[in-house]
């Protein structure tokens, strides 16, 4: 999977380069996210602006990532396409994550 990170004032932005987070890549996504957020900043923003499709396996991998961060560290989401947003809304996961329109808005909300 193509994933890159950038730190902004206590906020790590993890940008997914792939257009799909689905059953085919859910496990490698979860592993990647664990490595990229291990021992990192208090806030993590997952930039999904390049992602146009997510299935229930991909959703499960994002939930698993949130759990891996543990107490006191938050995972926010940014740049959801309409179809990705629909999956979060249908499953009510939009009530679990802070969801921002853009990475800039997310960083503004969460950076120190």
């Amino acid at each position: 999977m193509q994933i890159s990170t950038q730190d902004h004032r206590g906020c790590r932005v993890v940008t997914v380069g792939d257009s799909r987070i689905d059953a085919a890549v859910a496990i490698s996504f979860k592993d990647c996210m664990r490595e990229l957020t291990d021992g990192g900043t208090e806030h993590t923003v997952l930039d999904l602006s390049a992602v146009d499709f997510i299935d229930s396996s991909g959703l499960g991998a994002i939930v698993a990532t949130m759990k891996q961060l543990g107490d006191g560290r938050q995972l926010a989401l940014a740049g959801l396409s309409p179809n990705v947003e629909k999956v979060f809304r249908l499953t009510r996961m939009d009530t679990v994550f802070a969801i921002h329109r853009s990475v800039e808005a997310a960083v503004q909300a969460h950076a120190a």
Partner: protein, 161 residues
Amino acid sequence: MRPDRAVMGTAENIPPPPSRGEIAIRFATGEFEVRKALAILMGKLAKHRLSADTMGQVEIVVAEVLNNIAEHGYDGAGDVSLGVRVLSDRLRFTTVDAGRDLPQHLLSTGEMPEIPDNPLDIPEGGFGWAMIRELTDGLCYRRLDGRNHLTFCIPRVESVE
């Protein structure tokens, strides 16, 4: 009308494609095969000028149905046929596979999992069938001659701007 068919892979035990489907896709399950089959389906449906909302619902539902067959119906590789008939007000889908029986409770009680207050208790699975049930009408499952036959409809909706 002559069915528009696409065949992926070289699987030998492919169930017969649905006879009434205008679009028929056959494939053998594998790591990226569901993704490839979906890409073929969405490419073929693009010619039907469906709304973005309808296309999005189709992609979510069909991905969940096919992944379920690949992960739970078959232990390893197995053959699947997918048929789609585009009607004026809805799309009618049929899948046929020779995998394990589909547990009946998924069809009748596959509710959306509750979200508990403690984030560590939030489920990481169980959303696939709930989304299928939420986005489809007329979900019907039959086991015939050792094969699973699943039919369902997705209404055609106009995109809301």
